[in-house]
Amino acid sequence: MLGYYIQLALRSFRRTPGLTALMAGAIAFGIAACIVTLTVYHTMSGNPIWWKNNSLYAVTMDSWDPNQSYDAAHPKLAPDMLTYRDATYLYGSNIPERKMLLSYLVGVLSGTPGLTRPVPVNTQATTADFFRMFDVPFEYGGPWSAAADRGPEPVIVLSRRENGKLFGGADSVGRTILWNRLRFRVVGVLDHWNPQPRFYDLTPAGGGSFAKSAAAFVPFEWGPTLRIWPSGTMSCWGPQTIDTYQKLLGSDCVWITMWVQLRTSAERARFLDFMNAYWAEQRAAGRFGRPRNNHLWQVSQWLRIHHVVTNDSRLLLRLAFAFLAVCLINTVGVLLAKFLRGASLMGIRRALGASRRQIFEQHLVEVALLSLAGSALGLALGALGLRGVHAMYAHSGNAYGAVAHFDPLGVLWALALAALSTVLAGLYPAWRIGRVSPVVYLKSQ
């Protein structure tokens, strides 16, 4: 029966090729718009490390000015970074299973065969747990040891891209490289790793939420040891002029991002108690003039409070759905008109013994075929549209372009949505034609 229905549907399409193309085109445009916006939205709102959402926490404490909040637009939020004093104290705790600090330094690389002249690279100063906490994949070697954090030892981890430039992509573990004119030993090379959004660091000076991960990684303590000023976001308040590195370390300037990995809710409570005790002690000593606001943020919460999904992309997503709605209403209208025009034919089929159900099924098959054609066309258009959006943003040098790539899951969602909605849209016309009384049409013949 299905084969016969398909044959009938194809014949019907051939009878009105213009109308059929119009309907398939309308569906395709609606789907394409949805694919583009859903993909961008899905990538933006995605949690790149969802499997650890219940164990990773960003640490914040409100060390800011008693007279004003850190962010005037969100007065209840503490600064998203910590002062050196607080970060190093909290890092000393052995409650978390893992813990890491993060800041940025400009590192000038030289002394490898791939380099004709020194190049400055964005270096992430961090601790060994960074790689294990965030499941960072390695192509060669691995993270440095905990002992290297304390030294600090001159060890460096390179991104895959940087290793490609410096060593032609060869296994460079054990090789030496000059980082700010000091000899560093390569201990690891990352594999492809570019989580989007870059959840572990959303600060603007790090390049924003959709920036690439750093080119090189060195132990956190190298910053203070060499007194290299942090090159990432740093915010200060208060009357003190910060003009020496020593003053920076003792100041209330915030510039360090901290994450901890906690196994259980009991561990989480213990770490929060530890923070609160430290807060109380410091407050007694005259710091922390603002109300207590110690917080451990899950990755998903962290992304939400930082408004990683831009208002514009949310707006465009809604627009796409409105567009799809118009396309579908349009399809319902055209289908209805088309089916009713064939009503007299259906009258004959009914009179010859076809049941209502069979008429309904026959038309539903036609709708399904149409939806299939529209979806296929929509997929192609959507791919084209994504490429357009990507080019538009890439050309303007905006990091947003990074999220406009063909994301299989996002596309699958859009397609499922499209197929379902077109079939739903076809239900009413198919049902309507099934209800047609054959007598009326036979009479007028």
Binding site: D65, N67, L315, L319, F323, N330, G397, Q445
Partner: protein, 413 residues
Amino acid sequence: MKTARTQVNLMNVPIRPLFSSLRRNPTGAVLVALQVAITLAVMINAAWIVAQRLEKLERPTGIDTRDTFEIGIVGSSRKFNVAQAESEDLAYLRGLPGVAAATVVNGILLTENGGDTDLSRDPGTNGPVVGANFLTVDDQALNTLDVPLIAGRNFRADEIRPLTKGKQTPPSEVIVTQSLARTLFPHGSALGRIIYNGDSNPLTVIGITRDFMGPQVGAPAYNTVLLPTMPGQAGLYALLVRTRPGMRDTVMREAKQHIGTAHRFGITGFSTPLAKAERQMHAGDRNTAILLTTVTALMLAVCCLGVFGLTTFNVGSRRRQIGTRRALGASKRDIVAHFMMEGALILSGGAFLGSILALVVGNWLTVHYALPRLDLVYLLGGVLALWIVGLLAAWQPARRAADVPPSVATRTV
């Protein structure tokens, strides 16, 4: 048979057949009206959003971005002598024939790379504060930016505080932009007044410039304060260069090459034409405007296809009725007028529903996206535009209806 009337007089369209045909088969008409309503609501609000974006895009930077570039220098070792490197670079750049002016600066204008600060009219941290972009520069800054003073004077060369042992020296004079001056001192001139930069160090306003955009890390674009002190405390600094017209790329390439190898412990980090920075600054708004316009135009097209399709269907399925009316004396124009009127009726119904929807959506956008309240001119304009475009879509099938010959009435199928 040629009709004597030359005008389609819509008032003469019989109303009864219009409504009875709509009543007999309302589904198609309701569906088209629904499309019209949604399209209208989206179109009006999209146009309103795009208008806001265009206004933002048209805000001038206040700087000569075409002939200006920045180049950054970073130390590769603690032995890097920043103060010496800065003066060598400036001397080199100012000696180049293609360079009109050059200065040092502590950030990249228009790119969110730089610093901002809170300024106040009162010492201490209790008074109200105003956020401002924070530029530490020398006496050539205004000349390089090509920004005119509107009151007061420029920094003198002897007022520029040098870096001493790598440390920046706090100055006591500042130049502010007009916007910043007005925000700090709404009543009366800011010139000669004292402001405070968080600390108790008093700063005297010695000059006020025309507005220009700063780096905008957090502060409003046009709020900028210039301080006469050499940057480079963190071992890195930037040079801002304005070239003679058309020579930007040549000079930038040459300067990058020279400066990259000139210093013993310092190398060039980046080089950016400010025109590129300006483009990137506008990218988000521009792209959103483009995407909104594209999708809305497609939506309007689909909506028009709906009107076209419905009218075509109606004409096709009422051929006999049309023939009968023609046989009974209705002119071609009466037939066209009938279908146009029917289209107008559906469009009006959709426009009515759509206007309400547009206001609801507009209100929602005001609440959730802090968009200014929808201007009613956009509502009226949108309704009118959709009405006209919709009628145009109904025109072709309505014309075809007029070609149905009266003889159809006498034929059986």
